[in-house]
Every structure is written in C-alpha cells, then in structure tokens.
C-alpha cells in the first residue's frame, strides 16, 4: 500500500500529544484508518517499511503496548528488535545514556521506549539523533495510547469530537494515559471530566482544562464515554486509599452508573483490567465496551505512527 507522503511531518520524535496540532492529529488518524483496512485483509502485511529497523526498548514491564508495536512494525515489514530491562545491561547498572547510545550505534530508524521515569523519552530524544516514540514515561505521557483512544472514539462518535463529554475515571495522579488523553481530547474540542478520590488527583488539577469530581454518580451524568483507568495496587500500600473494597464501592463503573450517561455512551479501558475493582465484569463485556476495539485500533494507530517517523527523512538526499 502507498501511504500518503505529501503531508509534511514536522516532528523528529513523538514525546507527547502536546506537540501535535489538530492537523497533525487528524492526518495521523486518517492514516491509521487506511492501515486498519490492511489489518482486515486476509494477508495483513505490506512492504511499506521494508528495510527499516524499529527497536522496542521497554525498560518498564509491558506486554500489550510492546506486542502492539511489534505487530504494527511487522505488518509494515520493518525489522523489530525487542530489548527489555532484564535483557539489557541496565540490569548491570549501565546508565540509560550508555544503553541508548549503544542502541543508536546499531542504526535504528525508530526507538520505541517505555520507561518508569517521567521525562525518560525526552531525555533519550535529546541524547540521540534517531526518532524516539514515547511508549509511556512514568506518570507523564502515553501519546500512542491517547491517539489510539481518539481513533476508537472517532469511529464510535462518527468523527465528531466537539460537543462530546468524556469522563476519565480512576487514578489520574499517577496516570500517563489520563494526562495525554486530557490534552489530546481537549484540543479536539471534547469536554473532559475527571473522577477520583482527592488522593489520586494530580497537584494543580484546578488549572487543568477538565472538571474534577469525587462522586462518580455526578461525574457520569450525561457523558458520551467513560475511560476507566487501571488502579495500581501499590497505591493502597502507599497509604493513598483505605482498602480496595472501599475503592470499588465508590469508583467501580457499573451498569447502574451508565444509566445516567448518554444512551449510546461507550466504555474504554487501556488495560489490563482489574475486573470488579475499577470496572464491573458485565460492563467490560457489554456492547458499549470498546476495550477490544482499542486493541485493534492500537495496532493501526501505531502502524501510522511508525510509518510517519520511519519515513520522515526518506526525501532527504544523503
């Protein structure tokens, strides 16, 4: 397949959605829609990125994001090289800088990086010349997740982001998914609400372009979609919550809550799910749930992202 290369892609790296304007975003989502067609074919592989190298540098554990990037790259015929913390010299106390320089010396076109430290992707981008795609850095940003969520919502919402309301429910404070989604959806014209106990809301949330709630019954009223976030069990150990049973009593999204949302309201979750903790079992499996759709959207969206970054310099003469 020939992807449209006439759009000038101005970015070396994808660190967060804040660097994208509306035009960039819609171009990327359009491209993802075309790759989604490829994914529906019986033979799901195109030679678009043949000869390109993508390193999957996942310093923090991840199964789904890493697999999603791997599948996306392979469908475009790029070579992928996974590297995890346990398989790298980071376990031998090699610094991030040295591991990164070593990776760069192998000449990849794109490094996808997941790291537990906020700002790690930005650090790598400053240090290296090749393109860095942030696969999630600490609590800071997860741009590819936000873009795939927008891809799913764009289809569910018939392409209209304005006059829609999204509720993000759960541990906002420690969520890179929430941060990136707030920025991206707000930019596209969607109203965003947040709902969490005060201990799981970020500092300065009053300055965010979002309305914060502590009562789920109020927060869910009239929304067009609810995005549940995974609750990390260590939040309870850190003293931010009394116990998980109480958390689920107050913040687990149930079918009952959804009755006060819009009738066609959708439910999203970046996974992996804690069924019964942040999302009720039946809600996760209901027709309104986009959870599995998000997974397939993820592959298409990441194909578009890899395409844009791996071919960014193809027009340049050497």
């Amino acid at each position: 397949m020939n992807a449209d290369n006439r759009y000038f892609w101005p970015h070396k790296d994808l660190l967060d959605v804040t660097q994208l304007n509306g035009e960039d975003t819609l171009h990327l989502l359009d491209l993802a829609a075309r790759f989604q067609e490829v994914n529906r074919r019986p033979v799901k592989k195109v030679p678009t990125l043949k000869g390109k190298t993508v390193v999957l540098f996942f310093v923090e554990d991840s199964t789904r994001t890493k697999t999603s990037f791997d599948v996306a790259a392979k469908r475009l015929s790029a070579d992928t090289h996974p590297l995890s913390k346990s398989g790298s010299s980071l376990n031998k106390r090699e610094s991030l800088k040295d591991t990164a320089l070593t990776l760069q010396a192998m000449g990849p076109d794109v490094i996808v990086m997941r790291h537990a430290s906020s700002g790690a992707a930005e650090y790598l981008a400053r240090t290296l010349d090749c393109s860095i795609v942030n696969g999630g850095d600490g609590w800071h940003a997860h741009p590819t997740q936000a873009l795939l969520d927008c891809f799913s919502l764009r289809q569910a919402w018939q392409g209209r982001f304005a006059d829609r309301t999204l509720l993000i429910l759960g541990d906002i404070a420690h969520s890179r998914v929430a941060r990136s989604n707030v920025h991206l959806l707000t930019m596209l014209g969607t109203r965003v609400r947040l709902c969490a106990p005060r201990t799981l809301l970020p500092a300065g949330v009053e300055n965010w372009p979002a309305e914060a709630y502590s009562d789920l019954n109020q927060a869910v009223r009239g929304v067009d979609a609810v995005m549940c976030l995974r609750l990390q069990l260590e939040r309870q150990q850190a003293g931010l919550l009394p116990d998980l049973a109480e958390y689920s009593r107050r913040f687990c999204l149930t079918a009952n809550h959804l009755k006060s949302a819009k009738p066609e309201a959708k439910v999203l979750h970046p996974g992996p799910l804690n069924r019964g903790l942040e999302i009720a079992n039946d809600v996760a499996d209901a027709p309104a749930s986009l959870v599995l759709d998000q997974v397939s959207s993820g592959v298409a969206t990441r194909m578009a992202i890899l395409y844009l970054f791996a071919t960014r310099r193809d027009g340049e003469t050497l």
Binding site: S95, L96, K97, H115, S117, S118, G119, A120, E122, Y123, D137, G138, W139, H140, A141, A173, H174, R176, R179, P202, A203, G204, V205, N207, W208
Partner: protein, 420 residues
C-alpha cells in the same frame, strides 16, 4: 605593610581605603587617603569595593567525594567568588562527626590556601548524620567546628532535636536546621504544584519545610535558644519565621541565590540542573523571598554550593542528584538583583557579610578602623558565561550554565594579603 586602595566605588561613592597589616585603618572619600609615601597603591578606578563575603553553607565534598569537589578547588572557587570564609557541611565520607575529620578538613584548607579563604567546618549534629544519637559536639567544637547541622538528612525526631539544641547551647554552637518533614512526600523530585502535576513528577509541598521550621521555632522559644533555618525556599516558611521573630524568638534564616532567581518552571523539559533540595518553588514564593531578603526577614544569603559530577546530572530527573553549585556564580547572580533594583549594595553587604558574621560569630569587615582587612574589588561590567573554562569549581552543575552574567572579582584580599 601599608596598602592604599585608591578610587574604588563603594555604595555609589568614590573612596580610598587604607589598610595596615591585617586591619582596616580608614576608609575616606577618594583623594583624601592619608597614605604614607611607602604605601603600596592599587588603582581601583571603575571597580566596586565590597567586604569579603561569608558563605555559611557549602558542600566541599572532601573527604570522600573528591571527584565532585575538594577543599582546594572549593576554596579557589570561593576566592574568585568574593568569599573570604566558607562554612562546610558535614555530609562527607566519612561524615564530619569526629575531631579527626574536622582536623583533616582544616589541614587540607591551610595546606592549599594558607592565606584563605578561611574554612569553618560545621559539625554533624548526629553520628553519621543518621539522626539517631548525638555527635560528640564538644570534641568537634574544640577541633574547630563553628556550628552544627543535620544538613541533607532532616531529623524527624523532635525529642532528639531538642536535646541537640540544648547540649549545643552549652558549647555556644548554633544549630542549623535543614527543615524538611522526612515523611511528607518522601521520594519527591520537585515542588508540588501545577508544574509537577503536568510533568507527572512526585512533588514536595511547601508545608514539608514550613511545618519543620515552625517546630524548630517553638522549640527555640521554649528553650530560650537560637536556631538557624537553612536554605528557606517557601513563602509559607517565611510566614512562620515572621511569626517567630514577632514573638522575640532568636530565629535566623538563610536563602540561596537560586531561590531568588528561579522557580519551579526551570524544571520544564526535565532539566536536571534545576533539581535541588529543597526544591525550587512557585514564582510567588520567589517574589516573597525577594521581599524577605530586602526587608531583613531572611537574615543571610548562602550558596548551598552542592557540586556533582556531570554523569550524576545526566539522566532522568528522578535519578539525578539534588544540588546546584554556587560559589562561582553567587556574586554575579545577586549583583543581577542590584541591577534590577531588588537589592542595593548595602543589602548585599548585610546579607553576605555582616549578618552571617554576627550569627556565627565570625570576623567580618564593616570597613571601620580595626576591622579585618577582608575585601575584594569587583568589575560589575565584565560579562562572563559560566562554563568549563570559566568556573573554578570542579563541577558545573548550575542551571545558569551558558547564560550571560555580569561581574567578576578582579582582586581579593584576606587578612590584608592579596589572594587574587
């Protein structure tokens, strides 16, 4: 030996300064210097005359971390920064909790800089700075320590703190507290607020500093003892200090140039050079601190010179070490405040010389007859850029790296002897 500094500018007026041996003889309007014929004359036209600065808070890293700084390089940076005396904190390896370590530090200083800048070690308040048992303070005082501190390792145990303050009072040593609640937001990376929320970084609220300062002030009042609050970063802490001073508590406070020049926005882009303990706070805090140094609520300036090697600042923000170097840049940075009319020259003298001298009972030069001949000449118009070639510290972890600064020390006398 008689020296006449001729035609220097001092607080806006041209002056002559006459020095005999290690003492000031007199300072007169320019042209009226009663210098004898044999006096050596230094033509200081165009230069500003300032008394030697005292830095009550530096980390010189020796013994133990000489790859960051050592006493020789730290004192050289001090000399070029206008400092005639520095007080070095105890978080070396081994910690300065025995007379042997104090004597080692003093030997190193007199070996490399026999004419100064003078080194005044600060004793560890507790053994190993562990916050468990009191260090042998009398032994440390006898070896040459001028004060004691827990710097870098805040003490949560108020009972221990109280006993340390009482015991140190018998020895006429003042306790310098690094105020930070050890539990409130442990593992912080920066100030808690809008910027930390957006960057996804764990923040420390200003309450973590102010609450400990309030505890210290109440203890000081109860015990009728003085206490010194190190590196104040937050406006809330200033309110607490104002409350204490209004009650007549003998509380003194310091802040550092970086808290007057920068705020939490400097962390944007995950700039590890702006990571410091306590953290840079909000623009409002910075403004409150600027007012407090002007009106004297904050008694002194100190650099909290905290050198680290390049590799300790090259990485992600959470792993980078806390600290900013200050000896090289402090004078130029605070001179910026004079250029901006936030402070005037007499404020600099008060904050960098008179008040630290009074609080820590160190000799200071007020240019009165008989005062110690510690002074330097400063060219306020010379432009320089902090970088590897211009910094005298071994380390260059300053957020002002590469920025244009004004003013360099052209000549420096300590105890009447020229060291630069």
């Amino acid at each position: 030996m008689i020296l006449c500094i001729s035609g220097a500018r001092h607080q806006g007026s041209p002056v002559d300064l006459l020095v005999k041996g290690d003492k000031i003889v007199t300072m007169t309007p320019a042209g009226r210097c009663p210098a004898p014929d044999e006096a050596e004359v230094y033509d200081a036209a165009g230069l500003v005359l300032l008394p030697g600065f005292i830095d009550a808070h530096v980390h010189l890293r020796e013994p133990g971390f000489e790859y960051k700084e050592d006493i020789a390089s730290g004192l050289t940076a001090a000399a070029h920064g206008g400092f005639c005396a520095v007080m070095c904190m105890a978080n070396t390896r081994p910690v300065n909790d025995t007379a042997a370590v104090t004597r080692f530090m003093l030997d190193r200083a007199s070996g490399s800089h026999p004419s100064g800048p003078r080194l005044h070690p600060v004793a560890a308040a507790t053994v190993g700075l562990r916050g468990e048992e009191m260090a042998p303070l009398a032994e440390l005082k006898e070896a040459g320590c001028v004060a004691l501190s827990n710097d870098g390792r805040p003490v949560g145990n108020a009972e221990l703190l109280r006993r340390i303050m009482e015991y140190a009072a018998d020895l006429d040593m003042i306790f310098i507290d690094h105020c930070e609640d050890p539990c409130l937001a442990s593992g912080w990376i920066m100030n808690e607020g809008s910027v930390s929320g957006l960057l996804g970084l764990k923040g420390q609220p200003d309450v973590g500093e102010a609450a400990q300062a309030a505890r210290d002030i109440m203890l000081a009042e109860y015990l009728h003892l003085p206490v010194h609050i190190a590196h104040v970063s937050a406006g809330l802490t200033l309110d607490v200090i104002a409350w204490g001073k209004a009650r007549g508590v003998r509380v003194s406070a310091e802040t550092c140039p970086h808290y007057l020049m920068l705020d939490e926005n400097a962390l944007e882009g995950y700039n590890t050079l702006a990571k410091v303990s306590p953290p840079l706070r909000s623009p409002k805090d910075r403004e409150a601190l600027r007012r407090a140094v002007k009106d004297g609520l904050v008694d002194i300036l100190a650099t909290d010179h905290a050198p680290h090697a390049d590799h300790e600042k090259d990485g992600t923000l959470d792993e980078a070490m806390c600290g900013i170097t200050g000896l090289d840049t402090a004078l130029s940075l605070t001179w910026e405040l004079v250029r901006e009319n936030v402070l005037d020259e007499s404020d600099l003298t008060r904050l960098w010389c008179r008040r630290p001298g009074e609080i820590f009972k160190l000799p200071w030069n007020g240019f009165a007859p008989g005062d110690p001949a510690d002074f330097f000449l400063f060219d306020p118009e010379e432009i320089w850029i902090p970088g590897p070639e211009t910094l005298f510290s071994k380390s260059r972890n300053t957020p002002f790296l590469g920025q244009k600064l004004h003013g360099r020390v052209k000549a420096h006398w300590i105890g009447g002897r020229r060291i630069i």
